[in-house]
Amino acid sequence: MISSARPASKPEDATLDSAKAKQARITGAILLGMAVLVLFVFGMDASGDATFRLSRPTDPWALPNLVVPAGPFSYVAGTLLAFLGVRQFLQGGVRWTALSLGFGLALLVMAFLVWATAGKAFSLTGMLQATMVRAVPIALGGLAGVLCERVAVVNIAIEGMLLAGAFTGALIGSLLGGWGGLVAAVMVGGAFGFILAALVVTYRMDQIIAGVVINLFVLGLTSYVSSQVFSEYRFLNNAPVFRAYKIPLLGDLPVIGPMLFKQNLFVYGALILVALSTYYLFFTRSGLRARAVGEHPHAADTLGINVYRTRYIHVTLGGMVAGFGGAWFTLGSVGRFDENMTGGRGFIGLAAMIFGRWHPVGALAAALVFGFADSLQQKLALLRTPIPSEFLAMSPYIATIIVVAGFIGKAQPPAANGKPYIKE
């Protein structure tokens, strides 16, 4: 994992030690805070049993409902959280800080779900399935960001590339059918990646400005065509949708079957792309070269790696991934393009990339967390909890700020990120 690049703790290094201790203290305080929340807010209030439906009665291997008594569960979870928090203070928690926090967050989410569902029933499998679906564009956006930023090109334009992919998918999909639309979306995404590369590599435009401009341009162009052309010629905005395809046997598994193996092309595609790019970036020679360009372009150049070409290739690839992710919005769900239909999902992808520490698997995991928050927000209205759904919707962004600020473990971007390289 890339996050373990930090030097091992040396007792004689006082500053390092105090930084670690500070981090442990912050983590401990957060865990204790969560414990208080779970014990006194969820625990006091919880009554009855929370019923989680794990499978539908028609499934081949149906699981019985999971029934959790809400009160006792909150107390157990709260006590565990308190134990983890106190442990951070007592031992300095040098090694288990991040793990404790992850475990604590999972406990908190579980306690929250149990509390919200107490006395009611709720389909866990349905929500996990929705989580996966919602995570797809975010994960693909994040992956596009990883590919670009690993060669030190900051890509703010993910949002625009997603939107371009969605638009092209709808337009070409209506004319040539789903597969044609998909290929065109990937090509157009790649074209915008290439434009971004040209602007920042060849014309040395500021990377952030270039990204902002591409976003503005794509938003303007797609909105213009959609109101100028689509409103008149409706058949141009009526693409077929890729249906879910159940993988035999695996798709029948309870809980994970519907989540992972009964989805459409885009979910499978995202999972495969994440696996492929992880292998490519970290286990192949050209992946190593790409990362070298991102960390120290000058050294890479000295070794005979063509920095400019590497950046062009990877940013274009990133654009293609984003174009594929964009096609999800039209070909993967509704088959129709609406103005600004990505609604900031590209920026969330950017957040997922940072949250996932510039690693494809990390970006996918972060996207799942964000997708979970997103689908939980939809469910909250059904469960009628007193927590406003807007605050839940904000939580991924707040979490991203916390990670970027390094309150809990610093996320390290590639060293040369954002800097143009001028060949001598």
Binding site: V154, I156, L199, T202, Y203, R204, M205, D206, I208, I209, A210, V212, V213, I214, N215, L216, F217, L219, G220, L221, S223, Y224, V225, S227, Q228, V229, E339, G344, F347, I348, L350, A351, I354, P388, E390, F391, A393, M394, Y397, I398, T400, I401, V404, A405, G406, F407
Partner: protein, 383 residues
């Protein structure tokens, strides 16, 4: 007094134009590139119209409408100025940030929350005389914008979190926060189920300036606010000590730190000032034009302001001119939609293209080498 002020302004503007743009300070970048950018962008806009099956006559008609709707009449001028006010205000804030080396993408969020605060202050304090009421509402907007922006500034100063990421996240947070606030009973308009705030009472409105001529003229007193802000930012950046600190830490943070400037404080102060201006832009929009807050009332002004600040080369006077140009495009675009039936979204395309050409002068030089070679000879070929 005003004459000497003008002279100082002129002198400093001239001195500044020489200094502003990091070594590319010649006539080419300041005049030729922007002019080319606008012409080429308008031309490409025409090509896009052609590509989307708009016939030549309509294209001609739409450009006539664009001109007529932006500068062709008194009401067109009023619309142009009205659209320019928030763009210039927010653009000034962003320009200030650029000078201090901060890329603030968060103007949209600061603008939204600033406008929201102005609306809340306006209807909560109903009954005050306007001399107090209006300034208080404007101040509330500026203050909340400043506070919201300084979160990003503080994060950068204290932890090194990059402001681009944190302001993007703060933008996304502000959209949700606004949705939440607009549904709160003390903010939501009585008897409405949709998220919409109560109206601004008349004593807190920015007064319309030309309604004695024609009640449809929307130009409001925010235009003075805009001009005052241009003067203030100019003074702040080029005449005050703190402005010098902003620019020094923007040019070279290390040198600034060695010279004894407190870099953390400068970052927070620069972000707060930028946020105050964005908040003011939001306040002027709700108090002068919209009269209430609704979800997304900012309509992308915060993002367009980035373009305005870039086009204005982060110089207050440049921002004013760029804001007027973008305001004119906005107002003309509405006329274009009305007269020629061409969607106003074309204007966003043209704006984006302008910025591409402005921000990548190398690209313009590649596309139009002849425009520059002649000029270079005349000037002895700087660069």
């Amino acid at each position: 007094m005003s004459k000497s002020l003008n002279e100082t302004l002129d002198r400093s503007a001239k001195a500044l134009l020489e200094r502003t743009t990091h070594g590319r300070q010649d006539f080419e970048t300041l005049v030729i590139v922007p002019v080319f950018a606008v012409i080429v962008a308008l031309f490409l806009g025409g090509l896009i119209m052609l590509a989307t099956n708009v016939d030549l006559a309509t294209i001609g008609k739409s450009y006539v409408a664009l001109a007529r709707g932006s500068v062709g009449s008194l009401s067109a001028l009023s619309e142009t100025l009205t659209a320019a006010i928030p763009l210039v205000l927010a653009g000034l804030g962003l320009a200030l940030g650029f000078r201090a080396g901060l890329f603030n993408i968060g103007a949209e969020g600061q603008l939204l929350l600033g406008g929201m605060a102005a609306v809340v202050a306006a209807f909560m304090l109903d009954g005050l005389p306007w001399v107090i009421h209006l300034p208080v509402a404007l101040l509330a907007g500026a203050l909340v914008g400043a506070l919201y922006a300084s979160i990003a500034g503080w994060l950068k100063a204290a932890t090194g979190a990059h402001e681009v990421i944190s302001t993007i996240m703060l933008n996304l947070i502000s959209f949700r926060l606004l949705d939440y606030l607009l549904r709160q009973p003390f903010i939501q308009k009585e008897g409405r189920a949709d998220p919409i705030s109560k109206s601004v009472p008349e004593s807190a409105e920015l007064p319309r300036l030309l309604d004695w001529l024609d009640p449809n003229l929307r130009l409001h007193a925010g235009v003075f606010l805009m001009l005052a802000a241009v003067g203030f930012v100019h003074w702040l950046l080029f005449r005050s000590k703190i402005g010098f600190a902003f620019r020094a830490s923007g040019e070279n943070p290390h040198a600034a730190r060695y010279a004894g400037m407190k870099s953390g404080l400068i970052i927070v102060a620069a972000m707060a000032t930028a946020g105050a201006l964005a908040g003011l832009a939001g306040a002027s929009q709700v108090l002068g034009v919209l009269d209430r807050a609704t979800p997304g009332f900012s309509a992308g002004i915060g993002f367009d302001a980035i373009a305005v600040a870039l086009m204005g080369r982060s110089h207050p006077l440049g921002v004013l001119l760029a804001g007027l140009l973008f305001g004119a495009l906005e107002a003309g675009g509405r006329q274009m939609q009305l007269d020629a039936g061409v969607s106003i979204d074309l204007i966003s395309i043209i704006q984006a293209l302008i910025i591409v050409f402005i921000a990548a002068p190398l690209l313009v030089k590649t596309l139009f080498p002849w425009g520059f070679r002649a000029d270079k000879k005349a000037k002895g070929g700087t660069q």
